[in-house]
């Protein structure tokens, strides 16, 4: 939701980045204020996923220009774990499986690590169990998720729910959801979206990275951005998503080029 006078959480200016020598981001600008939900849409290969990984600090991407400020600090100077502790959360498109590590053990370790760095109390195993079970209700997850290995043998929907469960526990200021709707059936999509909606509040912000408009029926964005060739070329309200759904992406590029010519 857009709040009057809310403060800026994330400010990206002219971000350029390479992966193995190929330029993927070419001057991306984005401003996200607390309370807002943003959707970044665009065709495959436009750089959406790269952008979300760069925000989380993936080392495979080399930032070659521009700035990223998060709550007044230079995000690009922080290691991935420092970003997580500072309140940046990335829900992965393909969460990894960790056979051999129990989900409960994993969740408690990450929770306590982040809590400690935020100067808050750790929870012992019993307290944590109560806490996590409460959060799991939000995502309609059965408690036996806790007994299984992290994401091992989880269905696509279960993995995504487990991602949002981690988001619920780590309580980020900025959550980036990378293609969270991919591979979800309609029931799982509704559950995941419902969880995200309950987590959204006036102090945090959510960036949804998605190829399809479908997710936006459930999580209603305040802003919709269209990415193409490594930058945001159009920004609108939630109705832009519907237009993209019916007209596709091509017209945005055409319109963008026409505007660029007119102003040149």
């Amino acid at each position: 939701m857009i709040y009057k006078d809310s403060k800026i959480l994330l400010e990206v200016r002219g971000l350029c980045a390479n992966v193995s020598g190929t330029e993927i981001l070419k001057g991306l600008d984005l401003t996200v204020r607390s309370g807002e939900i943003h959707a970044i849409m665009g065709p495959n290969g436009s750089g959406k996923s790269t952008f979300s990984k760069i925000l989380a600090g993936h080392s495979a991407y080399e930032v070659t220009g521009g700035t990223v400020m998060f709550e007044g600090q230079n995000l690009l100077e922080l290691a991935p774990e420092e970003r997580a502790r500072a309140g940046v959360f990335l829900a992965f498109q393909y969460p990894i499986e960790i056979p051999g590590v129990g989900n409960s053990q994993f969740l408690r370790l990450t929770y306590n690590t982040v809590q400690t760095h935020r100067g808050k109390e750790e929870l012992d195993p019993l307290e944590f169990d109560d806490y996590v079970r409460e959060k799991m209700k939000l995502l309609e997850m059965s408690p036996d998720f806790l007994e299984r290995s992290v994401n091992e043998g989880f269905s696509g929907g279960e993995k995504k729910r487990n991602e949002i469960l981690q988001m619920a526990m780590l309580d980020p200021r900025l959550a980036i959801l990378d293609e969270t709707d991919s591979g979800l059936d309609i029931d799982a999509l509704r559950i995941v979206a419902n969880g995200v909606n309950q987590l959204a509040n006036k102090d945090n912000a959510i960036v949804l990275v998605t190829h399809y408009q479908r997710l936006l029926n459930y999580i209603v964005p305040d802003y919709v951005h269209v990415m193409e060739a490594g930058r945001i070329i159009k920004t609108g309200g939630k109705e832009l998503a519907f237009e993209l759904e019916s007209r596709g992406y091509d017209w945005v590029g055409v319109e963008h080029k026409a505007t660029a010519r007119a102003t040149a």
Binding site: A56, G57, H58, S59, A60, A79, P80, E81, R83, A84, R85, F89, L90, F92, P95, I96, I98, P99, G100, V101, F106, L109, T110, T113, V114, H117, S149, Q166, L170
Partner: protein, 435 residues
């Protein structure tokens, strides 16, 4: 160049020196077995890197040392060995330097079930064990199995009669207490038709000097029997450990095995599994080594008959300048149609000096089979490390967790929870690098 044959002969002669002192058995076939083994030791030589089966594993250090059979047995108290006990496994056979320790063991003879030292099982089971003892292991072509058989006296004998399930796991605990001693641990497990049992074969040490464990285990599963076999090799840091295990699965029997190797300076485990029709086995292993350790696992899974299933996952975590070897042969014989075999060898190198040789080998002589195998050698996956970092864990913590998980995936398959926890703790300690 010195003549290796001469060195070997002297070395083996030396090892055999204590053999004539063995008391003769009342069983003529057992005496004949030992005599044959002595003959074979006279003919065979100690393998070198020139032998195909030993080309990655240099045991010349072993032959440079002089080991003698145990002369005086050390008497231990419960307090000395209690820490090795496994809560669930209240049936226990304890061997100190290869010698049976009745006062520390809880042998059972009950309902036809025998968990005893070999000699005590003769009266009731001599005829039943004769076809298997010394027969499952091919000691005629294997100098270490031959040496063990030449010294065959004390042994863990487990006989589970038809349709009996032994509820409590059996712990066979082999404790090394003396330096320069060679011991010959021996196990024989006979699971009769439709029976079920879980056994733990456990090698531990109370001292850190060099010694030599040369073990042989034979396991026979009659039709429809089920055996869970957990093998834990946690020998002392300077130990030499060479073990041969042969498992024979009759029709529709099921063998599940997890073996872990943490200890010994040099260890070699040969496991041969032969499958009859509709038999199933899962053979999993973990070697977790560091420093200058060498751990070699050679397995051969022999699909001799149709419709059998074998699954194998072997993992090595190698740190320091340690060296791990895995050689996994899957043999599918002519006529073994509808064989279903899956093998995977996964290896994690923690340092630049760590080394692994892995050699999956498929030999298929039947045409209607499903066989997959694969091997990976590598370091931790950066995407996985990033995932954990993105959840707030430091890079070191992320790497530790993934290394631990790599090993824990095998440990998790152990069906005895206290042992599982204990070994998970060992993996955790050995894979944790302080930041």
């Amino acid at each position: 160049m010195s003549a290796p044959g001469t060195i070997n002969a002297g070395y083996l002669e030396n090892l055999l020196a204590g053999q004539p002192h063995l008391p003769a058995s009342p069983l003529a076939w057992l005496n004949a077995l030992r005599a044959e083994a002595v003959d074979r030791v006279g003919v065979l030589t100690v393998p070198t890197l020139r032998d195909e089966e030993w080309r990655f594993t240099d045991i010349s250090q072993l032959t440079k040392m002089s080991f003698h059979p145990v002369r005086t047995t050390i008497s231990l108290q419960v307090a000395d060995i209690e820490r090795f006990y496994i809560e669930e496994a209240t049936t226990r056979l304890v061997f100190i330097d290869g010698v049976y320790a009745p006062q520390l063991s809880s042998a059972i003879t009950d309902n036809g079930v025998a968990v005893v030292n070999l000699e005590a099982g003769f009266a009731a089971h001599a005829a039943a064990i004769e076809p298997y003892l010394g027969r499952l292991t091919e000691f005629r072509d294997n100098v270490f199995a031959a040496l063990n058989t030449a010294f065959l006296l004390d042994a863990a004998l487990i006989v589970v009669p038809r349709d009996i399930s032994v509820a409590v796991p059996v712990h066979m605990l082999f404790i090394a207490t003396q330096k320069d001693v060679v011991s010959y641990p021996r196990c024989l497990l006979l699971a009769e038709s439709g029976s079920a049992v879980t056994v733990i074969e456990d090698y531990v040490s109370l001292q850190e000097d060099a010694y030599f464990t040369n073990a042989v285990t034979e396991i026979a599963l009659v039709d429809n029997a089920r055996v869970n076999h957990i093998r834990v090799q946690r020998e002392g840091a300077k130990a030499f450990h060479i073990a041969n295990c042969a498992v024979s699965l009759a029709r529709a029997s099921n063998y599940q095995s997890v073996s872990v190797a943490f200890g010994a300076r040099i260890s070699r485990y040969n496991l041969n599994v032969q499958l009859a029709e509709e038999a199933e086995c899962a053979v999993d292993g973990l070697a977790l080594i560091s420093g200058r350790q060498l751990a070699d696992t050679h397995t051969c899974i022999d699909h001799a008959k149709p419709h059998a299933v074998s699954h194998q996952m072997h993992k090595c975590i190698v740190g320091g300048s340690a060296h791990a070897v895995f050689n996994g042969k899957i043999m599918v014989r002519q006529g073994a149609q509808r064989t279903d075999s899956r093998q995977s060898s996964r290896n994690l190198l923690l340092t630049n000096k760590a080394h692994v040789d892995t050699k999956p080998q498929l030999e298929i002589f039947a045409d209607d089979v499903k066989c997959t195998h694969g091997a990976t050698i590598g370091q931790l996956d950066n995407e996985e490390v990033f995932y954990l970092q993105s959840r707030g864990l430091s890079e070191t913590a992320a790497r530790n967790m993934l290394t631990y998980a790599f090993g824990a995936e095998i440990i998790e398959r152990i069906p005895i929870s206290s042992l599982k926890c204990q070994l998970e703790q060992t993996v955790l300690e050995q894979t944790t690098i302080q930041p």
